[in-house]
Symmetry: C2
Subunit: 430 residues, 2 copies
């Protein structure tokens, strides 16, 4: 057996502690699989005195995170600090510039600076790996980069945020409203005190932009992802969707079209026959559709210390084995600039829900707007008046261009009949 | 870009043709991802004159399959001939002895001779890869070998045979009997003219033994897999299972227990809440449960030229990238002899169905046998008499040792009340 792979670890929160516990618990097994031991030699975190339930005295303690890049004669730096910039980015740059491999779970940093870091890693001939940045413990970066590497990918999409899926599936199971379930999720620790990044889709968009680069060979472009979250989903949307044979899921989706690449994170209606309709709770799941392999599904825990540590250490094992190459499946120089597709051209079925005033002619006005925009209605449900005197109209359209739906909604803007913003969700095509 | 990776290809059936079509269709993309072109230089098959819909004139034709090991200055030999021994094995040995990498989709050969071949590959410092041997296009070998490498695996199990799953899910959807659906599956090309390997579980057992070696670091031991197929599953089993909240699936399962390793392929009852309950048609799906990552699911097409070719070429891309190591995740010398666990000690819930004579005391006799063996009954359904004068009794037990169920069935052997063999199926624990 050769010399151990020496690790310097920045960040000792839940995931950092998980990595140390995992390396302790599975030490011998990992050494057999990796062909050498994987050994933490130095750590850095904000507070040296905090009890983290693991013995840290055996590691060199480094106060300045950036200095970890040169600490303890490490071969690899693992960054679990978080944040798209700041100390994490400083450490990443210093590590790669110093010719050491770099492993991170930091989706925000990779979404924003992945290309620069991949170039630095290639220049230094070292590894940049970030399996834990997408879908936690699920090896979906590897699945796309390697498992599906023989395929031209048509679409890659999935449930990328466990908090949103927990909330949506709880709303579904219990018929409760968003705000109510969010509070419970926060109390249970499934949602942050400030849940914005999760429920507004930003976290999923970070992950999607990483998947899209690997799947389509495009430069990471977080700014290209059209994003909306789940705040506007009401209990009635979930109930109407169910009545029509769908479940509501927040999906990140990247899709190659004639006019370019779509990248979007939105709540979708998923047909009950689709595997993603059965993904409940904080689970993540990613589907990749390849021109030879067909539909591949990867599913598992998207967060938590154990699953995330599993992905981090999988990256370390690849490095210990010497089985790594360009982070984005091809050299950074070979990645092409993505051409954003024209969303209006995209064809699909749509769900549109209106909250309306209870008065004569409302339905006629909505139907006329749809007709005038060329939107063909497959089914329509109108529900009786609620306590506040409002009614609900939910429509599923036939397949057609998204532009037409946008036009219909534009026509209805400012209507006295329609209360608040209509809720428009794409329906996942089989 | 460096020199191409040169391939010699043995076997030009559906999968062999698929590999050539894939390399043609995705040539440029693969070269970008692999860092070099992948180029077929020589081929071998039984009949040179047969029209396979691909242009073979550009390749060197080798009549003697074994000679392919030295043909065309190839770097890698791809074997798609099939058969556990014979020409495939001869070619594998010659290729590795000659210091070239070897890629195969041949589950039977790997199940029987994988250890020997892995040793030969290590000795020569070349790759032995067989992603396509398990679950077709689904990168589950990679998922276990690399993606889940940081974990001690508790169980690995799944739907490993598309033919059986096609038949079972069609029986389920249409309430039809096994023989009837098998004939249709044969007519549609989903089942072979001689379906024995598929429906008796041998094919799934080959695949399971490969997964078990990688998951548990044990020497491949095909002989250790207890195997039964789906011939004995009747429409009523599926209906009773559904009434009790289960679906019937043929599962391959390897599980670490205190007394050793279980390896088995049997029809199981899967709770409807489990992801495998939603896998229908010829799809394959594998679950791995790790001590840190929790439950991972890999799902996709388990057969067919496109998916299988996708897996074969994924192996070639790994080789082109130089990202490969020991076939079984660790050096062959580090694999340990599996200790077969005592099945009687295994605890779980069971389904037992009896076909019984329609007369007084039958139920009492069965219930007494269960009680005397210490089997606790959770639910029991007795269905009225069929045209042939027989009735049906279906039992779901509480969790208990499998030995007790075996004892109860032993007590009932030779009973005048019980007609034919009782059907005993394990129930998958959550």
């Amino acid at each position: 057996m050769t010399t151990p792979l020496r690790i310097a670890l920045a960040g000792l929160g839940t995931v950092g502690g998980g990595v140390i516990r995992l390396l302790d618990a599975n030490r011998e097994l990992i050494a057999r699989r990796a062909g050498r031991e994987i050994e933490v030699v130095a750590v850095s975190a904000r507070d040296r005195t905090k009890d983290r339930g693991v013995d840290l005295t055996r590691f060199e303690w480094v106060d300045d995170t950036a200095a970890l890049a040169r600490a303890g004669n490490a071969d690899v730096v693992v960054e679990l600090v978080g944040g798209s910039d700041g100390p994490a980015l400083t450490l990443a740059r210093a590590t790669l510039a110093g010719g050491k491999s770099f492993v991170t779970a930091n989706k925000a940093m990779i979404a924003h600076h992945g290309l620069e870091l991949a170039q630095a890693a290639e220049q230094a001939g070292v590894a940049l790996k970030f399996e834990a940045a997408v879908a936690g413990g699920v090896p979906v970066i590897k699945g796309l980069r390697e498992g599906a590497a023989a395929n031209a990918i048509g679409r890659v999409y999935g449930i990328l945020n466990g908090t949103c899926n927990f909330i949506l599936s709880k709303m579904e199971a219990e018929g409760r409203d968003f705000a109510d379930v969010l509070s419970e999720a926060q109390a249970l620790g499934y949602a942050e005190a400030d849940p914005t990044f999760d429920i507004d889709g930003v976290d999923a968009a970070h992950k999607l932009s990483i998947l899209a680069s690997i799947a389509f060979g495009t430069r990471p472009g977080f700014g290209e992802v059209a994003t909306s979250g789940i705040r506007q989903v009401i209990a009635a949307d979930i109930a109407e969707a169910a009545a029509l044979g769908y479940r509501v899921r927040l999906l990140g989706m990247a899709e190659e079209a004639a006019s370019g690449l779509f990248q979007r994170v939105h709540p979708h209606l998923v047909p009950v026959g689709h595997p993603l309709a059965h993904v409940t709770g904080a689970t993540n799941a990613v589907v990749a559709e390849g021109n030879f392999v067909g539909r591949l599904l990867f599913q598992g825990a998207g967060a938590g210390d154990g699953p995330t540590a599993s992905a981090v250490v999988a990256d370390l094992i690849d490095i210990a084995r010497g089985e790594f190459g360009p982070a984005y499946a091809m050299p950074a120089a070979a990645l092409v600039e993505p051409h954003a597709a024209d969303a209006g051209e995209r064809r699909g079925k749509a769900y549109v829900r209106f909250t309306v005033a209870d008065r004569v002619g409302v339905l006629a006005e909505i139907a006329a707007a749809m007709r005038d925009a060329g939107v063909s209605i497959e089914s329509l449900i109108q529900r009786g008046v609620s306590a506040d005197g409002h009614a609900l109209v939910a429509i599923v359209t036939h397949e057609g261009p998204e532009r037409a739906v946008a036009q219909a909604l534009e026509k209805l803007r400012g209507s006295q009949s329609v209360i608040g913003q209509p809720m428009w969700m794409h329906i996942l095509g089989e």
